[in-house]
């Protein structure tokens, strides 16, 4: 069986894909199936998918302030189990919890009238003060609630000390 990457047009696509992946600032140990990318839609070709990812815009929404009563320890802590955080503007609630497979479960809930505004929208978590560095996505349902997963590593835990929410706005090409 021939290697598909040897064909010139496929090579171009692979170079394109590699370039986009480099822009995601991903640690080397993450496998491709755990990338924080929105999944490919049905009947969407690879170039269309990459083009869609390229055309989207991250619109900053709000951030969460985490307060701690002497949260000592060697590792960067997640919130205590069962703790729900409220955003600064009161429009979102966030729950973070570690899973058994080295991931962090992120549950985002838009509150009040914001649940209408953000229903069925794709939201993202970014590194604080760097609104273009996406670390995870959460697709909200029609009630404005959604769950996503991000890889549990030091970079992401540090970012979650001040969770910052963006709306991933997809523009037409």
């Amino acid at each position: 069986m021939t290697d598909p990457t040897n064909r010139p047009n496929q090579q171009h696509l692979w170079h394109l894909a590699e370039r986009y992946l480099e822009q995601l600032y991903l640690p080397a140990e993450i496998s491709e199936d755990r990338l924080p990318l929105s999944p490919r839609k049905t009947h969407e070709t690879l170039p269309e998918w990459l083009q869609r990812l390229r055309n989207r815009k991250l619109v900053p929404q709000t951030e969460f302030i985490r307060l701690a009563a002497a949260a000592g320890g060697t590792t960067i802590p997640l919130p205590d189990p069962g703790t729900t955080l409220n955003s600064r503007d009161g429009r979102f609630r966030l729950t973070l919890s570690a899973t058994a497979d080295q991931q962090i479960e992120v549950t985002l809930q838009a509150m009040g009238f914001s649940s209408f505004d953000f229903a069925n929208r794709n939201m993202g978590l970014v590194i604080p003060d760097q609104p273009d560095r996406l670390i995870g996505e959460v697709l909200l349902n029609e009630q404005g609630r959604g769950t996503g997963y991000i890889v549990d590593n030091e970079l992401h835990r540090r970012a979650l000390l001040k969770p910052t929410i963006v709306w991933i706005q997809e523009e037409e090409a």
Partner: protein, 201 residues
């Protein structure tokens, strides 16, 4: 019966904002029901696990409670519940001191405490660890303003020794002393209780 006030400094984990300390109040509660404290008012604010740790330590310290313990159970609540308390394990020391003061094991009316207790078989030898980050907690403490009578502030060593801790946080600690807040460094729970015994307010 008097009210016991416990302050617990809060730190912002992102280190950019400061929040006022938690204000925990211990007041006389029911007389006819079980004398054990109940934590339902704290659990809603994420302080449940800290309260359980404090209760466990209290039982280790005083396995045979005095008659005073069976008279009334304390009504414990937060006077200023924050909306974004994310990690509350460090509140256990403050809750424990509040319980001891309520049951007259400590001569305190108000106290401030910060630090995480690492459980050990010998409760008095349980080491206290400084919060993270301490600078932010000291800023939180400053928001209380001038105190009268003096407010004892139990905090673990933030460095290898008390002298080094005093040097590292010299400016913040001097400000607290001006506000009549007395920082009392303790490495273990036993030292913290001794410091409280020597303080009267």
């Amino acid at each position: 019966m008097s009210r016991i006030t416990v302050w617990i400094p809060l730190a912002s984990l992102s280190g950019q904002t400061t929040a006022p300390p938690l204000k925990l109040l211990f007041e006389e509660g029911d007389r006819l029901v079980t004398p054990r404290p109940t934590w339902e008012h704290l659990q809603h604010h994420g302080l449940g696990s800290a309260a359980v740790q404090a209760e466990h330590l209290f039982q280790q310290l005083h396995p045979h409670p005095t008659r005073a313990c069976y008279r009334t159970r304390p009504y414990i609540y937060l006077a200023n519940p924050p909306t974004n308390l994310s990690n509350a394990n460090g509140a256990a020391l403050g809750i424990l001191l509040g319980l001891l003061a309520y049951y007259h094991y400590l001569p305190l009316q108000q106290v401030m405490a910060s630090g995480t207790i690492t459980p050990s078989n010998e409760p008095l030898a349980s080491p206290l660890h400084p919060g993270w980050p301490l600078t932010s907690q000291l800023q939180s403490t400053r928001q209380l303003g001038l105190q009268s009578p003096p407010l004892p502030f139990i905090l673990p060593y933030a460095a290898e020794s008390e002298k080094e801790a005093n040097q590292r946080y010299q400016q913040q600690l001097a400000t607290l002393r001006q506000l009549n807040i007395q920082p009392l460094f303790s490495a273990t729970l036993g030292q913290a209780l001794d410091a409280c015994q020597q303080t009267t307010n």
